[in-house]
Symmetry: C3
Subunit: 280 residues, 3 copies
């Protein structure tokens, strides 16, 4: 029996997540069920995709993730189950939720969920809550070993899986151009798509200074020089810093302040960051 | 051993819910404990009642629910334990929390909790946290099989159980008059008390148009014609729709918007909805 | 195998807490993992300390608490593991998080965490997320019995443990001078550092009236007379009351209102409360 980990944009203020838990417990009493988060911004598939990459690899092989950020529920969008190269399962609408995992973990096999079979029996005739009736039900049966991955449905080509556009960071004229992927929400740090390995090519040592420029499609929002530090504690309270985050990517923060709020920084492909050695 | 599911209006920002979990784990290490939600609006018994009906039936027979929305803690309000017709247990102050479950699931037996026996030993002499000292303790013991339902206290007449007034929807002059029971909080959809079966009597097919009027006791807030759809994906983004929700009741929403916020719609018996065939 | 209980200021909107859970599940599939809260105000060590005292004693002996409110992550602040007099373990940065537990529960033994050994293998080279790489990992191993408490690292003197200043309440001229420790967040009650035993020395019976004065370092914010009641239900809705809270300390509230918000009351050592018999 493997763990089942649920993610959604439902919040936990009403009964939706609890109904999913109940379905899973009904499939197999004693199943270990956990939350990734249910506070994904409504319909924000990108954020759902990112939270998977932030967590999946820390769980044991065989763990089953169910992610339900599903603006297209009831449309013809497919329901799929993926097995990653590292042996984690992810069950989700095929709407881009696998974007980061496909790129960064790799997928071994993707199957179409046959909804005629993989659906909670006697379910209310609901067209709006596949998270409960199909995804939690199927995820619980897979985690509990009631069905095997093969039973879920036919394999589909990996290149048919819907993905959102991912922009690769690049080195150019001695600077790295990247984008801002996501926020470390409560602390207001901004997390970029620039991996530690690429940043190293700038040959900036810990304690040295780095120039950070941020712009979106309409204007420049930030340009300043700050310390590249191991962690927040190496700069003063209120001082900005660049650092390598817990996923091994470059991030920018204010020690005990919110960088994102201080400069009204957002996330996504239209939020650009340029990183270079300090000019002075 | 059965699962224990906790609901309250305590929030999870302080230690209250964790103390309840600790009490339950102390009764029986390894007990499976889950949350319904702890974000019920403070003192909102109606919402607590509704969240039970939204979730109870998806859990296995024997599951023990503890619901603590308890404005009268320390008063003479009774503490009760109910067994539903489907075999779920609910432990709660007797203040209306069982309103929906009693009407829609039916109760097989209700017992008065004998607080002299069913109280955590050595508890601090607290008059304000029965959720921890009595309800979680008793729920955990029932779920763990330490006590049987009979041990909780004497049976009481079902018609002595406190209920909040429930207004039945009714068909009149070719229109259905109902009320707005609750919100699908994060998505801003409004959920009515009009069951699918009653709505069918209007003979409106999927894809046809339906007229929705909403008023409270002081004024009309909404009157418009919209599509009756299986799900959000059948209308444009930003377009309103009527649909059958995941509990098989009529609901109204804006695809990827918040209907409740757009028109300042509230919930409860003073919020009326009138549903009829589109006049044009 | 003992339960593992996690506390932090990370919130649950991103993947940080889920990554900690994954690490713990990887150490020992089937480990029972729970949350205290993850909504501690960012960097608020005092609140983290208080939430431990609010909950620890309700859990079975042997339960392992991991608390990560860690403004100094990456600095030279120590990581420690404490065994309380009652047999609970607490793993935390040594930054004051043990203040209340040390004073009110007592510590039997404190050990320095040897981070060269007690660190998740193959972890990303992260300096900013010890909650995942060291604390959750070590807490899970201790809870699962993979390591013994002795294996964590060398014992350190108890008086070397960092604590925040705690002001003792005192009786003076027939009144008790105390401070406001914390809020019962959702209900807006204020919880003082005045234990029931000290309050009893005023010889005020339930139903009698008590005078409450509140001031901070700059001004007086409240002075009024209210009923000393067992619980909220003994006063009118909207009426203030003094009562003994669920930790056996004096608290002040408005029945179904928020005392803290009504009078803009904060918490900490600069928030003073004076309690005396009603002068009339």
């Amino acid at each position: 029996m493997h763990a089942l980990v649920l993610q959604s944009d439902f919040g936990k203020a009403d009964g939706a997540v609890c109904a999913m838990y109940g379905v899973a417990e009904s499939v197999q009493p004693g199943l270990r069920i956990f939350d990734l988060t249910h506070e994904i911004e409504q319909y924000d598939i990108w954020e759902g995709s990112y939270r998977l990459i932030q967590t999946v690899s820390f769980w044991p092989e065989g763990t089953v993730f169910v992610s339900v950020v599903d603006p297209g529920v009831g449309s013809t969008r497919r329901s799929i189950a993926a097995l990653t190269d590292d042996g984690h399962y992810i069950i989700t609408p095929d709407n881009g939720t696998l974007t980061h995992v496909k790129r960064l973990c790799g997928l071994k096999c993707v199957r179409l969920i046959d909804e005629t079979v993989n659906r909670m029996p006697h379910a209310v005739d609901s067209y709006t809550f596949h998270g409960r009736d199909i995804y939690a039900f199927t995820g619980a049966r897979l985690a509990a070993g009631v069905i095997r991955f093969d039973d879920i449905g036919p394999e589909i080509p990996q290149d048919s899986v819907v993905t959102l556009p991912l922009i690769d960071p690049k080195m150019q004229d001695g600077a790295i151009e990247g984008t801002i992927d996501v926020l470390d929400i409560r602390f207001g740090s901004i997390w970029t798509n620039i991996p530690h390995s690429l940043f190293k090519e700038l040959h900036i040592d810990y304690g040295e200074r780095v120039q950070i420029e941020i712009r979106n499609d309409t204007r420049a929002l930030y340009r300043n020089v700050m310390t590249f530090a191991h962690s927040f504690a190496e700069v003063f309270v209120g001082e900005p810093l660049a650092y390598i985050n817990s996923l091994d990517y470059l991030a920018v923060a204010i020690n005990q302040g919110s960088f994102a709020r201080a400069y009204s920084i957002g996330t996504g492909n239209s939020w650009h960051i340029r990183v270079s050695r300090s000019p002075f």
